[in-house]
Symmetry: C2
Subunit: 422 residues, 2 copies
């Protein structure tokens, strides 16, 4: 892969397009390319693209998200594989803070569209990660057809999610053959990444749905402070964390023998767009909000305790003899003790998509959960929440996605889906 | 106004709600309140709320936007004035990095909903500005009714905008009795501000439409580097800048005698949500993109020149005898020379609102323009652009707003609209 940085491309673009020298000066007004240093800044620097696992899962959660679900519109398996190769190369470049393609290489030909859309020129990598997953419909379409000869390779864990009590899903905003999660500390960088992948995929894939998010609602590393969700509560306190290697092996990464070999080292991704009725929530008393979550709003501590990271005591009872943490509290129902030890790595983002036409903000949580197997992870937990969670009065699940995220790309000769399509 | 900071409120909330001490420790995990220092950090610090003009106009453009348009649903003039007072107090608190209301004061009453929604607890002010404006319909409703006895006070400059060639406006996403722009360097802070104003206004106003934006598309200070819009071009090069005081007096701030006294020191705000057909744009050659804008994509310089800040030369011709900057180029048509000297302070943001259901991203520019008088500012410029701009092939105006933004609040006894309602 060419080692052309966004800054260098900027100069080339100026030169090639109009034959004028000296445009490099403007580039110097921008933050320097942060990709060079050995110890890059965690906010602006680059995250390694290759590795045993894909980046963007245990990577300390960045602040901004652009998620896209594509439908594959070609029937040509080779064309799809070619796209996956092109995408991999572009993702490797962009996560390193370079352009999606070499603007310079085509700049001599004025008829050629630029190989990068340009809005991230001069911006540093901003910890961009690009994570890919394959949906159940890639293996067998809704019509039952096996378009790409993949049906036999579908992991049993990639069974479409069941319908949950209370689901109000919009099918047009759900599912998808391929899901791509771009996270970065600058939304312009995350949007640039998804937009360029869509541009490269034109004619082969079509955007099914896409979602922007901000203010990560979960910490994924013990080094991160716990952020707050739009209910105003700390979210991610008891999340799986990058540092818990043993738990990650047990609950996050697909292990050899779990299913088809091509998924070993990967993880299953569940997305749920959850509208939060914030106006109703904002009218409910603090004490009620706290019993619904099962934690204190200020400190984030389990009810009855004072430190955020103390273990909840589900046996404690109040003066009235009732459990201090009600049996219908979210944090109690979602706890591993109530779900045969199940644990999910949560990595969601807040969203506000304008208003709903009924005088209210269209706001909520874009839930992202990674796990070794949704049949022992998301599905039983969500079954229990859907049936009993007091919070349901204030939330509506409007979109749902399930994707098998393969292991990491190993180097410049490897590409997304190489083992699946081998 | 009480001087309770978000950090202090956090402790109080924890204490008051459950009678547990010691929750302050968790707060220390957050960035410290940046409001205290005399020379606050420009990214995380506070911007003064009071002053001759409202903040958020010449304030160096922050990175994130949450804009909301409200309809007033009460007919009670006093109730509306009461809300404007409550809003002013909350805005003063929030821009200083405090909560919208005193969580502590009500925390002893478990039945009371908190006076702040909590998602910004512990976050610094992040240069939050909250700017208010009044729409034409506040003065006289669409039904011709003068609900609040304001019809005689409507400035002539607040005449509803005319229809422009090519407009494809969604009326439900346009207009509004009151517009509020919240800008900050953290979206969670901007969203928190709008959401709390909506919460405080419940029953008096209703959210008509709302818009999130990122990556400011214009610099408003000579100290800022010029950002790029979603066409990949530098945007804001020739914008009005905070430092150009004489130009601001002439083109931005309403002067005494311009119209009713209550607007002197204010400015008129035009919002246009402009969908950009980025997929089509991305397929067009670099040379074509540059002739449409009239500037080089790399450097941002006018066509034929090499430095971003050089003055465009509209007389220069190429080898073919044609003008180097075509007569249909955006930057030529929008230039003051083509508009009787008109100048607008642009302060727009990029948006991506998911996808459009047709396989494309729903992306574009949320244009924000401030001026002394839209009849000599936005209207003639947009008339000319709507008729001749080559860029029209790639953009669609889908929402429109016009608001009269009064001068700044002078101190704790003043409030939004005080002179208008006096
Ligand atoms: C809008 C919807 C939701 C909100 C506002 C929300 C909020 C929270 C909060 C405040 C906590 C406590 C702090 C923490 O440990 O992170 C929590 C915990 C948790 N939530 Fe949610 N949540 C939502 C949806 C879901 C969904 C759909 C799932 C999965 C099906 C889920 C799974 C969990 C889990 C596993 C925990 C940790 C339980 C533990 O280990 O103690 N949440 N959530
Ligand atoms: C999606 C729509 C638009 C895009 C992509 C766009 C982009 C640009 C760009 C790249 C420039 C050149 C750099 C600069 O001086 O800032 C520019 C200049 C300008 N634009 Fe736009 N613009 C859009 C819509 C509008 C609208 C609706 C108006 C007002 C009616 C407007 C008014 C101006 C003005 C006044 C200038 C500066 C001209 C000068 O003084 O040289 N633009 N625009």
């Amino acid at each position: 892969m060419a080692k052309i940085s966004r800054r260098r491309a900027l100069t080339l673009a100026g030169v090639g397009a109009a034959g004028i020298a000296g445009t490099g000066a403007a580039a110097l007004r921008f933050t320097a390319d942060a990709n060079a240093g050995a110890n890059p800044d965690p906010v602006t620097g680059a995250v390694a693209f290759t590795g045993a696992h894909q980046a963007g899962i245990v990577t300390p959660a960045q602040d901004r998200l652009h998620f896209v679900a594509f439908d594959v519109i070609t029937k040509d398996r080779d064309r799809l594989i070619r796209l996956l190769k092109e995408w991999t190369a572009a993702a490797a470049r962009m996560t390193a803070g370079q352009d999606a393609g070499e603007i310079g290489a085509v700049a001599g030909i004025p008829e050629a569209p630029p190989d990068d859309t340009g809005e991230a020129i001069g911006l540093p990598p901003c910890a961009l990660t690009i994570t890919v997953g394959f949906g159940p419909t890639l293996f067998r379409g809704a019509d039952g057809r096996d378009r790409f000869g993949l049906a036999a390779r579908r992991p049993a864990a990639l069974e479409p999610l069941p319908r949950f009590t209370g689901d109000t899903l919009d099918e047009a905003l759900s599912g998808g053959d391929i899901g791509i999660q771009a996270c970065a500390n600058d939304p312009q960088v995350a949007v640039h990444a998804i937009r360029n992948l869509a541009r490269i995929g034109m004619g082969t894939v079509s955007v099914r749905w896409s979602q922007l998010g901000f203010g990560r609602t979960s910490s994924t590393s013990t080094a991160q402070a716990t952020p707050r969700n739009l209910f105003g509560f700390k979210d991610g306190t008891r999340n799986l964390k990058a540092e818990q290697e043993e738990l990650l092996r047990e609950h996050l990464w697909v292990q050899p023998g779990d299913g088809p070999d091509w998924m070993a080292g990967g993880s299953y991704l569940v997305t749920r767009k959850i509208r939060m009725l914030v106006e109703t929530w904002d009218r409910s008393p603090l004490a009620e909000q706290e019993t619904i979550i099962g934690r204190h709003k200020g400190s984030g501590a389990p009810l009855g305790l004072s430190d955020e990271f103390e273990e909840p005591d589900f046996t404690a009872v109040g003066a009235d003899g009732e459990p201090l943490i009600p049996t219908t509290a979210h944090a109690r129902l979602a706890h591993p003790d109530a779900n045969k030890g199940a644990r999910i790595l949560r990595r969601g983002y807040n969203f506000v998509d304008g208003s709903d036409g009924l005088g209210r903000l269209n706001a909520g949580l874009f839930f992202i959960g990674y796990q070794r197997d949704p049949r022992t992870g998301f599905i039983p937990v969500q079954r229990s929440l859907a049936a009993q969670d007091e919070m349901n009065e204030y939330v509506r699940h409007v979109s749902s996605g399930l994707f098998a995220c393969p292991p990491g790309v190993t180097g410049p000769d490897d590409h997304w889906g190489s083992a699946l399509f081998a």
